[in-house]
């Protein structure tokens, strides 16, 4: 990650409070152009608030935000290049889906009506039905279509597919990737369904309780941990002195997730008769945002927590 392109988004020391709740706690983050970045984290971690402050929809208490090099709040030059699709988007009461698609080209310079029509067909969206009468999935489809067809240089998808079934979600991923290939842009995708999007993401940002706890390329994130499986004794010997992210055990077998192993360490593990398994992005994020340890073996206390060394 040594490219020198100007960052699309630069955030430093960003703090946002709602009363006593600190939604964003001194967040510093840089988003490089031309990549799909996953913004991941638990409910209430601050994902939506972060996107809302970056897009000028809400106001930060302190900190600096630069989007395309400028302050985004009330800045038409910046905002006209942003498409922010959010799960809770409100539409005027009497609007039908077709009204939304009629308005969108006025606000998005790159709007592709043909692409929108194809997406409407793909998602089988009834454009003449009132928005209020649409199902949750159809409502999500409206946002997804606007987000894709607007082709904004900076596009945010905040939990865009609530209520969409697996087939529709796959359609979304396929169209997103195909269109992104033809019209590269910067996409920030926030979601719970980490495994589904893991292969699309080029960069991963994990936010937990208002703080950024991971900000790296998807490849290096995946390599940042490995699961080692084998007899309990051999495992204990191998992981001694390492930071254990997660530990599970059944009877005499143990499965432990440890931080990045280099080539020598991998050989050492294999020589000790242990198996190495990759950790999925979802597992990694669960491990890093949730410190609980499960151990089904009864003979030893299961007190190994994230951050402690066993």
């Amino acid at each position: 990650m040594t490219d020198t392109a100007t960052p699309v988004v630069e955030v430093s020391g960003l703090t946002k409070r709602f009363g006593d709740v600190v939604a964003l706690d001194d967040v510093t983050l840089t988003v490089r152009p031309g990549a799909i970045t996953g913004l991941l984290g638990r409910n209430g971690a601050g994902k939506t608030t972060l996107m809302q402050t970056i897009t000028g929809q809400d106001f930060a208490n302190s900190g600096e935000i630069r989007v395309f090099g400028e302050h985004p709040v009330e800045n038409a030059k910046v905002l006209s290049r942003i498409s922010f699709i959010k799960e809770g988007q409100k539409y005027p009461d009497e609007f039908k889906a077709k009204h939304v698609f009629a308005c969108a080209p006025w606000f998005y310079e790159n709007w592709d009506a043909e692409f929108a029509a194809q997406l409407i067909d793909d998602f089988q969206l009834p454009v003449n039905r009132r928005i209020r009468k649409l199902s949750r999935g159809q409502l999500s489809a409206v946002g997804v279509i606007v987000g894709l067809a607007s082709r904004a240089p900076l596009t945010f998808f905040d939990e865009p597919y609530l209520g969409l079934d697996a087939v529709a979600r796959q359609t979304f991923y396929d169209r997103l990737l195909a269109d992104y290939g033809e019209h590269p842009r910067t996409i920030i995708l926030s979601t719970h369904l980490i495994d589904e999007v893991a292969n699309m993401l080029e960069h991963v940002v994990v936010i937990d309780r208002g703080r950024i706890i991971m900000d790296e390329s998807a490849d290096s994130a995946r390599e940042s941990a490995t699961t080692v499986v084998g007899p309990r004794g051999a495992i204990d010997a191998f992981v001694a002195g390492r930071r254990v992210l997660h530990r599970e055990g059944i009877g005499g077998l143990a499965s432990v997730t440890v931080e990045r192993l280099d080539a020598d360490e991998r050989r050492e593990a294999l020589a000790a008769g242990l198996e190495l398994a990759p950790v999925s992005l979802q597992q990694l994020i669960v491990r890093t945002t949730n410190s609980a340890t499960t151990d089904f073996g009864a003979e030893e206390p299961s007190s190994i927590k994230e951050g402690t060394r066993s």
Binding site: A5, P33, C103, R151
Partner: protein, 255 residues
């Protein structure tokens, strides 16, 4: 990361629409659904007109005399109230949609003012025309008045246009202020705004009563006539509209 150069190109070719166009886009957004913004107000006016007509005809048919007192008709007042409330609703619903379309609050507010000014012009034109129709036909031959009411449908042309348009815009400005307050502070803000208006109103009544000035107030209304009253309303209209603007500029758009 091979896509950087092309993305930069895409970004640089994205033109920023001019201020006028951005404001006009918001105006168009208000008219995107023609039913609530164009059809519904006229359906309401048409319905009120129809109800009046039925009443006029039934009275006229039973008494065979010219109607008296219909020049005091307040029927068109419903429309002003309707548009004031429509402004609040429009802001509540379209604000977050426009923000979702990446509009700025400034462009949104100005575009909304233009949209309602256009509504006001249309409304003024039709009401004034119908007031002349009532003049020319001697109140449909029965001295019936709805649009040629004594408040804004009599007097020279400029007075009819002036009173109708600015009375409309006054209602809109109050609605826009209430809408901005609601969007920014939700219902608590509206309660406070209502309380402030109530305190001002009660204060005025108290001062007038204690100083025994009610005859003077009555005389002032009689002297100023509707034209004068509406001219004075320009001050609170501008004040509301300006406060509404600054309230909205800091309103968050949360889901």
């Amino acid at each position: 990361m091979t896509a950087i150069s092309t993305t930069a190109a895409l970004r640089d070719t994205t033109a920023v629409p001019s201020t006028g166009r951005r404001i006009w886009n918001v105006t168009r957004l208000h008219f995107a659904n023609r039913f609530s913004m164009i059809a519904l107000p006229w359906i309401i006016i048409g319905f009120i007109y129809l109800v009046n007509l039925v009443i006029w005809i039934s009275i006229f048919a039973s008494t065979h005399e010219q109607l008296t007192g219909t020049q005091w008709s307040g029927s068109t007042m419903y429309i002003f109230v309707y548009f004031g409330i429509a402004a609040v609703q429009a802001m509540n619903l379209t604000f977050r949609f426009a923000m979702g379309m990446s509009a700025t609050r400034r462009d949104y507010y100005l575009g909304t003012v233009v949209a309602f000014a256009l509504q006001g012009l249309l409304f003024t034109a039709v009401c004034t025309l119908l007031s002349y129709v009532e003049d020319w036909t001697n109140g449909y031959g029965m001295s019936a008045h709805m649009f040629s009411n004594i408040y804004m449908g009599t007097g020279p042309l400029w007075q009819r246009l002036f009173t109708a348009f600015f009375a409309f815009m006054f209602c809109f400005a109050l609605g826009a202020l209430a809408g901005s307050v609601f969007v920014r502070w939700r219902s608590n803000g509206l309660y406070l705004l209502g309380a402030i208006v109530a305190v001002l109103g009660v204060g005025f009544v108290a001062v007038t009563t204690l100083t025994g000035s009610w005859p003077a107030v009555g005389a002032w209304f009689a002297d100023s006539r509707t034209v004068g009253v509406v001219a004075w309303l320009l001050i609170p209209m501008v004040v509301s509209a300006v406060i509404g603007y600054f309230v909205l500029r800091k309103a968050p758009s949360r889901a």
